[in-house]
Structure formats: C-alpha cells, structure tokens
C-alpha cells in the first residue's frame, strides 16, 4: 500500500541532504567538540557552522543560540530560567527553615506570568508547575480564529509580570499570533517575551530582532532535521537561570557533550529552510487550500477551523460532525493516509483538545476534528488521493454513527 503522510506537524522526515551532512559525524569525525585535539576541533567547527546557520534563519547572532534536546527542553529552560531564580530559596538560609519557606512563598506570589490557553503542553504544564510553586499565571483566551486579543494582553500585564510566553504558530490549527505587536507590548513594559516557535520555524519567516523576542524555542524534527535536537535563542543580555549543571559545554550554560551529528543536521536543515521557505510556502499553501476546499465541498456538514486567520501554509483543521476522530484516524491509516486528531502527544487522551475547546468548539466537535499537515514533499497526486479517501471514510463512519443522522441529516 502506498502511504500518504499528512502529519508533518507531528514530525517530518530527515531531508536527504541533512542526513548526508550528518553522516560524517557519527564515525569519521566523531570527536568531542570540547576536545583540544584535531578530532575535537573538527567537531567544534561543525557545531559552530550549525550555530551560524540556525542564527541566520532567525536573524539572531550565533552566540545567542544554545542547542538543546528539543522543543520541550527549550520551553522549560526559557520559562523556568526566567521565573525560577525568583521563586528559589533566599541565597543565605536562615537558621529556621520555616522562615525561608515563608519568604519563598511570598516571593513566588509576587511573580506573574502571562501565556495563552492554546499553548503546547511543554509550555502549559511548565506554567502549571510554576503555579504549584505559588506563581500566578494568566491564560489568555483566544478568538474563534485562534488568536489572542492584544488588548487582553495589555490588561493582563501587572507590575509583577516577569514573563510573557506566547506560541508563534499553533500545532493544531496553524494559527500565527501577531508576534511583532506582542513583542512591542512586552518591550514597552520591560517584560521578557518567550515564544514557542516549534511549529513556525522553517515554515514562515521568524525574525527575533524585528519581533523583539528575548527567548525562542525551536525543534529540529519539525523542520526536516532529526528528533532529539533543538535550540533555544537567548537574546544577549537576557538573565536566564541555568537548569542543568555539568561541564563547560556551551559556555557551561547547557552542559552535556554536544550532539554533534544532530546539531549539524539542525544547522543544515535551517540552511535549507532559509533557501526554500518562500517557494515551499507558496506551493504547500496551494496544496493545503486545494485539500481544504476539496474536503469542505465533498464532505457534507464539514467545517474548517480557524481558516480565516493567518496560518502556517501547511496546516488545515476540519470538523466532521458525527464522527469520532479516533476512529477516523484509524480508518484512514488502514487506507494508507496518516493524519492526526491534534497533538501527537495527546493521542489516546480522553479529554478533548484544549486548543479546539479554546476556540469555542464543543467537546463533541473537538473530538470530531482532524488535523492535516502537509510537508515539503507532499504532492498534488497525494492530495487528490486524500480527497478520495477521506470523504469515503467519513461517510462510512457516519453510517454507523448513531448521533449523526439525527443531528444533521434531518434539517438538510
């Protein structure tokens, strides 16, 4: 069976040129980038080239890029890194530990973080962990189109707000938040701005200078580099608490022997994205629109989600009332089409998507929604095939769905 992959927001294949760039660094040039000798120097050179490549894609300076294990680590590092020192123990412990506890809790209560209701779990759960330590967190609501209201952001900011963390592009909807305006507001109030750009880097232009971003998370495997490598952009001068302690790698800030091959892959992928982004974007968005329009035309009662907002070019999210997304994903997979109900990490979860409920969908509508995310190598023929497979599968599911006929066919 020929398989069609429309789940690029979950992960992407490693680009052949990326793999090729990586291969020498597994066996031949295997050196530790921190070693003094020639082996180490070759690895170091490769790592620094990659740092340049990643920095170039973001309009950052190389020394502002730190390599991590991926998006989740970067998000944790950015958020805990800003807030944690402020809620930690006082530097000089008092003889009575309870006094310290009081001080700590009091300090924590003075901290405030602003985020959104539609963040990825890597941000949401990190914020919830802060809340458990006493930090106040505001979760900004989003519109039907999945966008925050800048007025809401202004109103949410308090004197004690230390961090605004807003994702750039949403993984389930593809909606792109107005980062430049958000950056301006954060800068006006002298508050650090972090953005989880895992779903936008490589798909749309990201300019950390223009958007006045202090911290940015990205992940390799969403832009045709391997899994297990990511980066965090830390604007020069940002005071960020260290979370992992060890040797002096990456200036001691994020120790651990560098994943040289992974870093090289991420660098090469960033370079390729920079070259082909505009062209990819135009082609992929045309295919996405063809898929979306085709499905809406062919599947009765189907509705697009957040299609009116600025979106990443590759993502479409559609509600097919009367079906269980879980069953549709399986039915489609058995027919050779891979897509998703939302975040891959939450598949199998009972709770409906927090993103879809945040844009106003009911639990049943959220469970009936499917995300299609295209990639650089998606072909027109694959979209044609998907336009045959999906309507047939939805029709089959609806036939056996007790709720569907009653709810929808009656008034058609």
């Amino acid at each position: 069976m020929q398989r069609i992959y429309l789940d690029h927001n979950a992960t992407t294949p490693v680009e052949p040129a990326v793999l090729e760039a990586m291969l020498p660094y597994f066996s031949g040039d295997f050196g530790n980038a921190s070693s003094i000798h020639t082996f180490g120097q070759r690895a170091r050179a490769a790592v620094e080239t990659a740092r340049d490549q990643v920095a170039a894609l973001l309009n950052a300076r190389p020394q502002e890029i730190i390599f991590t294990s991926g998006g989740t680590e970067s998000d944790n590092h950015a958020i805990f890194g800003v807030v944690y020192p402020l809620v930690s123990w006082p530097s000089k412990p008092s003889p009575n530990p309870l006094d310290d506890l009081d001080k700590r809790i009091n300090i924590a209560h003075l901290m405030h973080v602003v985020t959104t209701a539609i963040e990825h779990e890597a941000v949401l759960n990190t914020c919830q962990a802060l809340e458990k330590r006493g930090v106040a967190v505001t979760y900004l609501p989003v519109s039907r189109e999945g966008l925050i209201d800048l007025e809401d952001l202004r109103k949410a900011i308090r004197p004690e707000t230390v961090l605004v963390t807003v994702m750039h592009a949403n993984n389930e909807l593809g909606t792109v938040q107005p980062l430049a305006e958000i950056g301006r507001i954060a800068a006006e109030h002298d508050i650090y701005l972090h953005t989880d750009a895992v779903q936008s880097v490589g798909k749309i232009p990201v300019d950390v200078k223009a958007c006045q971003i202090d911290l940015l998370s990205l992940s390799g495997h969403k832009l045709y580099a391997p899994k297990g490598i990511g980066a965090i952009y830390i604007k020069s001068g940002t005071r960020l608490h260290q979370l992992v302690y060890g040797g002096h790698h990456q200036r001691g800030f994020r120790p651990g022997t560098e994943n040289v091959a992974g870093i090289v892959g991420l660098g090469k992928a960033a370079e390729l994205a920079g070259i082909s982004l505009a062209e990819d974007s135009a082609r992929i968005s045309a295919l996405r629109d063809k898929l979306e329009e085709g499905l809406l035309a062919r599947v009765p009662d189907s509705r697009p989600n957040a299609a009116g907002a600025a979106r990443t070019p590759n993502t479409a999210n559609i509600t097919f009332p009367g079906i269980e997304g879980e069953a549709l994903i399986i039915a489609l997979d058995l027919r050779g089409l891979a897509c998703s109900t939302g975040a891959a990490c939450s598949s199998g979860a009972v709770e409906p998507s927090h993103v879809l409920t945040a844009i106003g969908l009911s639990a049943a509508e959220a469970r009936a929604s499917i995300r299609f995310s295209l990639g650089r190598h998606t072909t027109s023929a694959e979209i044609d095939a998907a336009l045959e497979i999906v309507p047939a599968a939805v029709a089959q599911l609806r036939q056996l769905s007790p709720g569907y006929k009653r709810e929808f066919s009656a008034h058609r």
């Binding site: 269980e324 879980e326 069953a327 399986i330 039915a331 997979d333 058995l334 027919r335 199998g348 979860a349 009972v350 089959q396 599911l397 056996l400 769905s401």
Partner: protein, 383 residues
Amino acid sequence: MSTQAQLDSLPSSAERQPGLVAVAMSGGVDSSTVAALLLQHGRPVVGLTMQLWNQRRLPELQGDGPAQHRCCSLDDVYDAKRVAQHLSFPHYVVNFEEQFEQRVVRPFVEQYLAGRTPIACTNCNTEVKFEPLLRMARQIGAERLATGHYARIRKDEHNGRCQLLRARDDSKDQSYFLWGLTQEQLSRSEFPLGELTKEEVRNLARRVNLPVADKPESMELCFVPNGNYVQFIREYVKETGKLLEDSEGDIVTEDGAVVGHHTGVHNYTIGQRKGLGFTTGKPIYVLTIDPAKNRIVVGEDDALRTTTLEIENVNWISIEEPTAPVRAQAKIRHKHEAAAAVVEALPGSRARISFDAPQRAITPGQGAVIYDGDIVLAGGWIK
C-alpha cells in the same frame, strides 16, 4: 491433535468469512493467539486494544508491587503492540475510559452500595466490548470482531439464530459472562478459542513464538487489580466527595435479634462466613443484605438454601422467549455448577427459575444463566 492440525482446522466457524476482522487484544495470551489463528487462516486482521481505566486514578490502590496484572497498564498495551509487530498486522489503542466508567465501574459501585453483588465483566462485554468497540471495528472497516473468550457461536440453520454455546474446555468456559449479547452482536462476533483448551492455546502461542506465550493469567477484576473491592469502593466514592464511614449498622438474626455490628452493607456478600466480627457455637452466614434498613441478616447454613429465584433484564439467546415452562439447567454464579431447573418466562423481560434441589447463596446482582446442555438459552440478573 497436533498443534499443526489445530492450526489447520481452526477456527471452524470463522474461516470462510471474508474481509477484515478486528481482534480485541488485551495483551494477554488468549487474545494474542486469536490474532495468530486468524492470520494462519489468511484473514486480514486489525488489532484493537481498549484503554479502559486510568491506573493513575485512585493512587491509594496502587500499592508497591510491580505494575503487571493491571488492566490497561502500559505493559499490557505494549505486549499487544509487540504481538502485532511480531505477526505484522496493524494495531491501535482505542480509548473507552468514559464508556467503561459510565457503564461498568459506576454501576458496579452503585450495586455494591445497594447491597447487591455485581459482576462487572458481563456489563463490560455487553456495554463496551460488543457495543462501542464493535461499532468502532465496523467504522474502521472490519465487519466482525474476534475476542479471546472461551465460548462458541453456532448458527442455527433452521431459524437463522446465532446460538451461544459453552466452550469445549469446561474449566475455561466464559459463556456465563456473555449472556447479554444480542443476535446482532453475536452475528458479528467470533470466539476462535471456543474449541481449544488453555494448554492448547499456550502451545499454539509458543509455536508461533508469541512474546506473551508464557504470560501469567490475570484472575482479578481488571480495575481492582489487588482484589480488594471494599477498598476500591471506598476510594471511588471518596473521589466523588462522599464518605462511607457513617454507614455502620446492625447484624441481626432472622427473628430480628441484634447479634453484632456491620461496617457498611457493601462490605458483605451473601453466604459470607468469615469477618462478621462475632462467633457463636454454630457456623453463621450472611443470609440477606438489606440496605433500606441498613441491616445484615445472618443465620445458619440451612437458611441459605432456596429453590426459586426471579431474574430480570432477561435476554433469550439461542431460542425465542418460550411460552411454556422449559426444562433446563441454571447457573447462578461463575463457579456454580449448572443445576436442573424449570424456567418460566414472565412478562417484562423477567423469568422464574425453580431448581429441582435447593441452591446455596443465591445472590442478587449476580447473573443467572440458563443452559440446555452446552447451549446458552438465556440469562438475566438475579433480583
């Protein structure tokens, strides 16, 4: 019979069915062997593993032991996945936690609190496995669902009805838990292990090198892995914000004399002898549980034995509801040996069972299943 011969000859009823068949896979040896058998017969298979219960809930019940033998533990899901990978067929985990709680766990707790002794497995079969799971199987393109139950399905050529039969291996027979299945459900179900013994199943599993061939069997109710129902009910009710501590009451004899105190009616089952908290000269048993008066009535063994009982929600399976009393055998709990009785259908999906000889500890909330030899005629809940 050699294992090769078994592979060639089974499953007799199912081998001619075309099309995709879904296998309900728990990660255990039985359902894994079902998948292997169907594949041996050239049937295209898709495995479905139900996620029914979140083991992180009610952490008080976790204990310190290893996570094995727990329903829906990741280990079981991975076992099912390993089998699917080993045999190269598609496999998916599907989430039915909500349905399981609504239709199995909550009624189970409510029944206990109402002084009855429920069986969750029957509800799980009727309300989850052969309802939403079967529907999902059909939605994804499988017309039939195969499970690892030890029971048999036979089509009555005369009237087209699907008959439910005991397993060939009586010691493994699970027909007692399947009496709630409708004709529609039975017509879409396959029990390929019905003709096999457990030993034969293990041999087949070893023969095809299933990674779960020697996995121990779980005997406890899946969502109460430690077998402690009382603790489970207490924790479950606590989660809803109620406490059961205040439900103590009297233990009385049949003539009303108070002989002791009970710790809540849900802690007792009919026929129970141990743990009553007092001793007399003769063995004393729980006769009835009376939640309305919050009393446990106790008495001697003789008083436990009764001849007739009534069942409700009766489902006639292998025959149509009879208009005259029928001679049959009835089984009043899983480990009860079916005893000779006359069964009379009553209006409102009820029936009266009159045993030839008195039966011990007939327990409200349990199922009573009516057999004619190997054939399951009907079943219902004991009132």
